[in-house]
Symmetry: C2
Subunit: 426 residues, 2 copies
């Protein structure tokens, strides 16, 4: 008998952990991704802020799975799923047949129907995004240095971050330290320390998924660093060089977007119910209605655990990927399936040097203890990456010198993800 064929779409946390859970199993696995690398997303903001190099937090998916003999990795973009025919259509017209499908294509940023805002306020989901964000704020200081117009200079030195979730908070927390400690001596005409960093959140508080006391602490920490925090402020327009909050206009040379997710549009071809964010409704075993052989995991799925919604974080993606993979194996072996249950190990968000907030085993942490915990946890999770040592060195370097080693301006193009990764000529 032929071994069942499992196709996994996406090499993020969901897809990678699903593939790993199928190691040594009597199935043939194909994992496809439109990039060649897995990204350690929780540290992406450190690439965007020039602290780490892209290679520190990304590794080839092939390399991560090279010892897994039943698994092959394909650089390709899934364009459409045909559940009736059990086929995934990729770029270049290639079709992949599957017996089981695990869809883990993740999410992009949502601009709430204003897609034209994207190039004015790019988001942070991929390595290419991080390089683009890095390029933008570095260029803003360069422009400020070379202009002789005071108003233009003021605009160039204003940085707006839209969205007060962990990514927004982490970006906003990094910039003042860089502007005040890493850059001043490098510039002659501008005082980089006078840069304005504005964090805009539509809801009443930062880090809405965290307990209220930690939201308050994060805000206090950011204000102490010099960030202007604006809560209950809805961005109503993003123009070239400005954002509008109702009738108020803020001129800003750099606008970064960290608000709202939209699940991959690949979900549309599944025929299942989807929510406002495009996430797919799944059964308790993570399969979709009418197709027990199709699973959706990670940010693409409406995940629930014991009836409670599960946040779109890396551990939820890993755990759901693993559950889906185990349910494939249960089915192959004729066993019953298991329900997805989310084990919340805790939440952490870092703000600055010795400043972080988090919940760990039910306890609320903040300040230095939270920061050390954050450091430890992230170093541990980078395991499996060969980059742990180099990350430690970079962090040690930035910590003691306040410098940023990765201040390269290397591209000025839209993220390559929007284009096919290879000349389509199968």
């Amino acid at each position: 008998m032929d071994r069942p064929k499992v196709v996994i779409i996406g090499g993020g946390f969901g897809g990678l952990y699903a593939a790993r859970a199928l190691r040594d199993a009597a199935v043939d696995v194909t994992i496809i991704d439109r990039t060649n690398h897995h990204v350690f997303q929780p540290l992406l903001y450190q690439v965007a802020t020039a602290t780490l190099a892209p290679t520190d937090i990304a590794a080839p998916i092939r390399w991560l799975l090279h010892a897994q003999k039943n698994t092959e990795v394909l650089l390709a973009e899934a364009r459409e799923i045909v559940p009736g025919a059990r086929i995934v259509r990729c770029d270049g017209g290639r079709e992949l047949h599957y017996d089981f499908l695990i869809v883990a294509a993740g999410a992009r940023h949502s601009y709430f129907g204003h897609d034209d805002w994207e190039h004015r306020a790019p988001g942070l989901k991929s390595v290419a995004d991080a390089i683009e964000l890095r390029r933008r704020w570095l260029l803003a200081f360069e422009r400020a240095e070379r202009t002789s117009d005071a108003a233009e200079r003021q605009t160039d030195m204003t940085f707006v971050i839209v969205g007060g979730g962990p990514t927004g908070v982490e970006l906003a927390g990094m910039l003042p330290t860089i502007a005040r400690f890493a850059l001043p001596k490098d510039f002659r005409r501008i005082d980089t320390a006078s840069a304005r960093i504005i964090l805009i959140e539509g809801g009443p508080r930062l880090l809405p998924t965290f307990p209220e006391d930690l939201s308050a602490r994060a805000e206090r920490d950011l204000v102490e660093l010099g960030v202007e925090v604006r809560t209950n402020a809805r961005v109503t327009n993003v123009g070239d060089g400005f954002v509008e909050i109702g009738s108020e206009r803020i001129d800003a040379g750099t606008i970064l977007w960290a608000a709202g997710n939209a699940a991959s549009s690949l979900g549309a071809s599944l025929g299942a119910t989807r929510d406002r964010m495009g996430r797919v409704e799944v059964n308790e075993d993570l399969s979709i209605a009418g197709h027990p052989e199709v699973f959706v995991v990670g940010d693409m799925a409406i995940l629930e655990s014991d009836g409670k919604p599960v946040p779109g974080v890396a551990p939820a993606a890993m755990q759901s990927g693993r559950t889906a993979a185990r349910n494939v194996l249960h089915t192959v072996r004729g066993e019953g399936r298991e329900r997805f249950r989310y084990f919340n190990k805790g939440d952490l968000a870092t703000i600055g040097r010795y400043k972080a907030v988090g919940v760990l085993a039910g306890r609320h942490l903040s300040g230095a203890i939270a920061w050390w915990t954050w450091l430890l946890v992230h170093i541990m999770y980078l395991a499996g990456f060969r980059n742990r040592l180099s990350v430690l060195i970079e962090w040690g370097y930035s910590f003691f010198t306040y410098q940023r080693g990765a201040r390269l301006i290397t591209a000025d193009t839209p993220p390559p993800e929007s284009r096919p990764p290879v000349p389509p000529r199968w």
Copy 2:
């Protein structure tokens, strides 16, 4: 009296060392470059071969000169020099006045009048070039893995390097080791070790600027690694996916260009005599005829020392940059100028593990001793970079594991250098 204003065009070795030689002098220095970083060019091929990260060998020019109070750094592209008016015209219409000008804009690759070959066979001069080269050969293996057409696969697994100078030899030497040791376990359908690497040199021997016995040794070392070395072979055409040597056609998915330089076209606006490669004729003090206040250094100048031509290598750029800077100071102080004299510290080219060739203090080195010397010299020269430690770690890692840590495919666009670096809005 106003302090004399010195403008330096280019932040490569020539420009950077000129700027450093003006440290603490009673002049105001402006150094401009179209990128924000200085590149340690001799190690660029290691970025192209995914051994080092771009940030390991590049550092912001601002940061390298931040302690030099009389110097400012401007991110701008020089478009034209008007020696009569002592003005440099930059992108965006900005004009810089100078009392002394040091032109160190370097060289790009020359395609011998076939500019359409460039996108088919990109060269290696900038960080963006290196990322593009890395992307190309990584994608070639990805394409080979996913095609089911044997002929296409053979083409994708064929790599042609045009030009047998140090860059061509170093690129050609790296690829077989990667194909044979770093990649095989990552792929399922192809045997990466069967990749063909072909090095094409128009002249009779590799490394034409080295002594003949070392050329022979380099060729032997490369052949031992599995490289097909073709000397006396002139490329007559570069097409999409093939090169032609006369009537012979070689199908190759990846073609890299390491043949021939053309000095920056900026030299044309100086009005001085130029040679076939666009290099500018300079006096013994490195100034140009009729303009004692304009100096040309590095790859842009026809450098001679004691009547003998000086090769276009990093030490020659550094030394000529320093001489020009000192001649500026001599003039400011009313002293006589000095002649440029090249002190040849030696030449080294690395081929592979324990394989290198070089001349040091008149002695010909090859094999392991040359390789260790190369390593030591490059680590020493990376000083002034903060990246020394991380480079050492990366090298140690690749050496002992045969792996390549920087295998990211992150962009698929032409080098950003061909476009203005910032929105021109002065």
